[in-house]
């Protein structure tokens, strides 16, 4: 699987991306140096806790936020923020949001919801596009859904309508922000299976933003773990999720239900207006906390020496002094 990944052509890329906001008179470094690439036909999971910057990163990749520095590249070319260019870009890269109820206009029928994109872009054969998109999203026969309103549909069906709306523009990449977080357990697998099928049938790439490691295991080729504005570990899902090297990834995996030895980190996800010096994870790091970092003599580095930004390559990467020193 890894060999296949390395041959994929890069479709969307973040290059040394920084996004800062002013927050109560302070500077919040929401995205603080990120390299990330999504290949053609690849599904990448971007994993992290609330406030880690993953949604800001996704919005920046979609051109909804401007980077403070660094670049977003699509098909190898830097993103053009002119309104016409952005409009064209958004045909290629579509957003699917967490809450399907919130993303659908309650007074628009399913047909109108899906037809909105094609109308904005002035596409011909509107009805055919809508029919095709609904059917691809698993709402069959599509005609039976045309005149339904969102409140007449189940949560899973609404999310399918949202996905159909994205598909109507024949995009090459979906950015899905917690696509199943607000759905019931039984529907969750169905929507994830749909994303996999779309990749198979249409070669659609996806960047799935989530805090759900099970989701990454279910559908993603690669995973990038984000902490406080940086990607701290990335690589093929099989490797990162079965043999995590970063203490943060290890902790996230350890608190999954039925895990033998949960490492419950104390404290809240930290504040992007106060990024700690040294390794940004060090105040919560369990490896440093129990003295294992000191054993190999890297505790000083953990507290004082910042780590380099990880490159956007398919091979496993980790930003950790302890992992570097122990080769683990």
């Amino acid at each position: 699987m890894t060999e296949v990944l390395t041959k994929r052509k890069t479709l969307l890329e973040a290059r040394d991306l920084h996004v800062q906001f002013a927050s109560r008179g302070r500077k919040a470094r929401a995205v603080d140096g990120v390299n990330l690439a999504v290949g053609e036909g690849e599904i990448v999971a971007l994993v992290g806790e609330s406030g880690c910057g993953k949604t800001t990163l996704a919005r920046t990749l979609l051109g909804l936020e401007r980077p403070t520095s660094g670049q977003v590249l699509y098909g190898g070319a830097g993103l053009d923020y002119g309104s016409r260019a952005l409009k064209a870009y958004r045909r290629e890269v579509q957003l699917v949001l967490q809450d399907p109820t919130g993303s659908l206009n309650p007074r628009h029928t399913v047909y109108e919801a899906v037809a909105e994109g094609p109308r904005i872009h002035g596409l011909a054969n509107e009805e055919e596009i809508v029919r095709d998109a609904l059917s691809r999203a698993g709402l069959r026969p599509p005609e039976r859904f045309f005149l339904r309103y969102p409140h007449e549909l189940s949560g899973g069906q609404r999310q399918r309508v949202v996905i159909a709306g994205a598909l109507a523009l024949a995009p090459r990449l979906l950015v899905a922000d917690e696509p199943v977080a607000s759905l019931d357990a039984s529907v969750r697998g169905e929507i994830l299976a749909l994303l996999l099928r779309l990749r198979e049938e249409l070669g659609l790439s996806a960047l799935v933003v989530t805090h759900d490691l099970g989701l990454a295991w279910n559908i993603a080729d690669r995973v990038a773990v984000m902490y406080l504005g940086r990607i701290v570990e990335s690589g093929p899902v099989e490797q990162v999720l079965t043999a995590p090297r970063h203490p943060y990834t290890q902790a996230l995996l350890s608190v999954l239900p039925e895990s033998p030895e949960p490492v419950v980190l104390t404290g809240e996800p930290p504040d992007p207006t106060r990024v700690p010096g040294g390794c940004r994870f060090h105040p919560r790091c369990q490896v440093l906390g129990v003295g294992r970092a000191a054993e190999v003599g890297v505790d000083g580095k953990c507290k004082g020496e910042p780590l380099a930004v990880l490159p956007a390559v398919p091979e496993p990467q980790v930003a950790c002094h302890y992992a570097a020193a122990t080769g683990s």
């Binding site: 806790e49 698993g138 949560g155 419950v264």
Partner: protein
């Protein structure tokens, strides 16, 4: 004697267009110090069940059957007695803690309120500090307002309130939904520790079977208002007898398990409309292992192993064919095969083509 005993509990909502049976004939016992999980998807009746326990349902709702709390019939309680029971004998932690707190009052006052109302303490401030410490918050947080706290901290405050009058039973309705993984782990660890230390019984409600299996001794799975399976948590989670429980268990994959890699498992179709229940087993339109008889015969909870029961024709001794646990897991309808997913709900479910059992 069990702390809580439900006998043939049914809850019926009255709405303009008729009656909706949200909970149907649920019988359950909860021992002192026991943790019971109730699983099910939206509309399965699990939250209604929780509300019914302390008579928190809207007026006009019909409750049949009996709810015995410490042997006392909750339905027969006078208003004053019910008030005393709420908080002091049993308390509820709701989902979405942020909505449960009054935004214009300080945390400390809100934690102290049930204690003052119930007169359980002479020194509420001291007790508030004690409770905050128990849930891992510093004492000065008593002076904070809800908006100054994070979601996880607010959920801790809700837990402190639930503990305030030293109840014997805590009902936690999706206590960690909408919280992050790590914060969820913190809150769950806290609940686990507190119920063990204080010998409190717990009823926890969630759609995440893996979380319930981790937290609870026993699990009940609800579908369309009824219990369809009851048994020890780990057995229900890893080796469910009812196909619906199996689908729920498979929905949350175990990371590292090659079976679920690139193979998300779902369950086609939608839960039935409570005003238009299908004939026979209510689960049959979505069931991957339904038999022809399932469209007409409705099986009640039936013994399915030691301390276990399931409402499925496959656990009946006279059912021919393989026991249900050998049948294919829920990936049959609609997970991946084009054309079979997202059934049109007008027909109440899916195609009749899945009415046969493929024995292994």
């Amino acid at each position: 004697m069990s702390l809580l005993s439900l006998q043939d509990l049914s809850v019926t909502y009255r709405i303009a267009s008729g009656e909706v049976a949200a909970v149907r004939d649920v019988s359950l016992d909860l021992g002192a110090g026991e943790a019971l999980g109730i699983a099910g998807e939206s509309g399965s009746g699990k939250s209604t069940l929780a509300m019914a326990l302390l008579r928190l349902l809207p007026s006009g709702t019909r409750v049949d059957g009996r709810i015995l709390l410490d042997g006392e019939d909750v339905a027969a309680m006078k208003w004053g007695r019910l008030r005393a029971v709420r908080w002091a004998s049993a308390s509820i932690v709701f989902q979405g803690a942020q909505h449960g707190l009054n935004p214009v009052r300080r945390i400390g006052e809100q934690i102290a309120e049930p204690m003052i109302v119930h007169g359980t303490t002479k020194e509420p401030d001291k007790r508030v500090a004690e409770l905050l410490a128990q849930v891992g918050l510093p004492a000065w947080r008593a002076r904070s307002y809800p908006h100054e706290l994070s979601g996880g901290q607010r959920q801790r405050v809700m837990i402190a309130m639930a503990l305030a009058c030293e109840p014997r039973l805590i009902i936690a309705d999706e206590p960690t939904t909408a919280l992050d993984v790590m914060v969820q782990a913190q809150v769950l660890t806290l609940i686990k520790k507190l119920i063990a230390e204080h010998g409190i019984s717990l009823i926890m409600i969630s759609h995440d079977l893996s979380v319930l299996a981790d937290m609870c001794d026993r699990l009940g799975v609800m579908y369309a208002g009824r219990l369809v399976e009851v048994g020890p948590s780990h057995e229900v989670f890893h080796d469910a007898r009812h196909p619906y429980s199996r689908a729920l268990a498979a929905a949350f994959p175990t990371v590292g398990d090659p079976v679920s890699r690139m193979a998300p498992k779902g369950l086609g179709g939608d839960p039935p409309d409570p005003m238009d229940m299908p004939a026979g087993c209510p689960f049959h339109p979505r069931c991957p292992v339904a038999l022809d008889t399932c469209t007409s015969i409705d099986v009640e909870l039936w013994p399915a192993g030691e301390r276990r029961s399931a409402a499925c024709v496959h656990v009946l001794p006279e059912t021919p064919g393989a026991p249900v646990s050998d049948a294919p897991v829920s990936d049959a309808p609609g997970s991946d095969a084009p054309g079979s997913d997202a059934t049109v709900s007008e027909t109440g479910g899916s195609e009749p083509s899945k009415t046969s059992v493929e024995a292994t």
